[in-house]
Symmetry: C2
Subunit: 191 residues, 2 copies
Amino acid sequence: MRKIAVFNNESVDGYFSGPEGDLTWAYQGSDDAEFNAFIANNASRGNGGALLFGRVTFEMMASYWPTPMAQEQNPVVAKGMNSMTKYVVSHTLEKATWENSKILKGDLVTEVRKLKQESGPDIAILGSGSIVAPLVQAGLIDEIQIVLNPVVLGKGRTMFTGLDESLVLKLIEAKTFRNGKVFLRYQPATA
Amino acid sequence: MRKIAVFNNESVDGYFSGPEGDLTWAYQGSDDAEFNAFIANNASRGNGGALLFGRVTFEMMASYWPTPMAQEQNPVVAKGMNSMTKYVVSHTLEKATWENSKILKGDLVTEVRKLKQESGPDIAILGSGSIVAPLVQAGLIDEIQIVLNPVVLGKGRTMFTGLDESLVLKLIEAKTFRNGKVFLRYQPATA
């Protein structure tokens, strides 16, 4: 069965997205070579892997990664993002022009349960706060990976909005970097 | 100048207090001897120290620690809590019957600034979500200590509610325990 991992940045007060969707805070400290190498290696563990998005995050990513701007700013990441298989769960999206994208139009939990049973690489969820809670509750998330950033935002969105009961986790890994970020890897305790 | 440290538990989604003020999740994993010893030692670094509370946390604590129940359940902690100097910031509280308590009736920031300049032991804030943000913004908090618990609550309160701009922190210490808790010690980056 394919594994699904959520990977997101978080502030010390638990937000994965700041006021008005601000993400600039998560890019601070990006001059730490050890951190960069660790994150790149972590991402490539699902090498040739697939990505799963909610519509909002998908459209944001699709408006950037295929562009010449992304080619110039982040050629390596852009190549990876464009070549990977991307799934987007949406009832409203008509078509996805970003290469290697597939729209899943049915019920979120049903579609993702089917996806896990198909053969294929493991799947990472980036951003996509609206789909994390229902997938966690359905027991379809195998791992939650968080980069805890040394900042308090005061306002923002948590990626677990809508979770209607608490979820006990098991800490698998914690790694501290010189830039003050802490990488945390959890599994649901019931897994 | 006396230092002020905030010490609180947090869930992975950033809450220091769960739905309806639930704190039971923070007491999970209390069978980890190394964790217990570390936390006890951390608390005693401000040995004979003082505590600072908002009214709600103060009244909750005052209704428990002086009681025979606390004597029986937690004799060592109860002795410490009862003998330490406690400050509670409140415009409405008429009197504080908990031994060694003082009510600060004036403006929060003014009172705490004065407190820091008096001689005396360092001060810890426990709970008290309503006073953290204004004190952080006034530059009166020297350290933020968090025990990050391996649980997602889905709903709750963050201890930084009301902070109206983001606060960059410096990670001073991170320590992982077998019970899955991670102790994090931060200072404001501007300190």
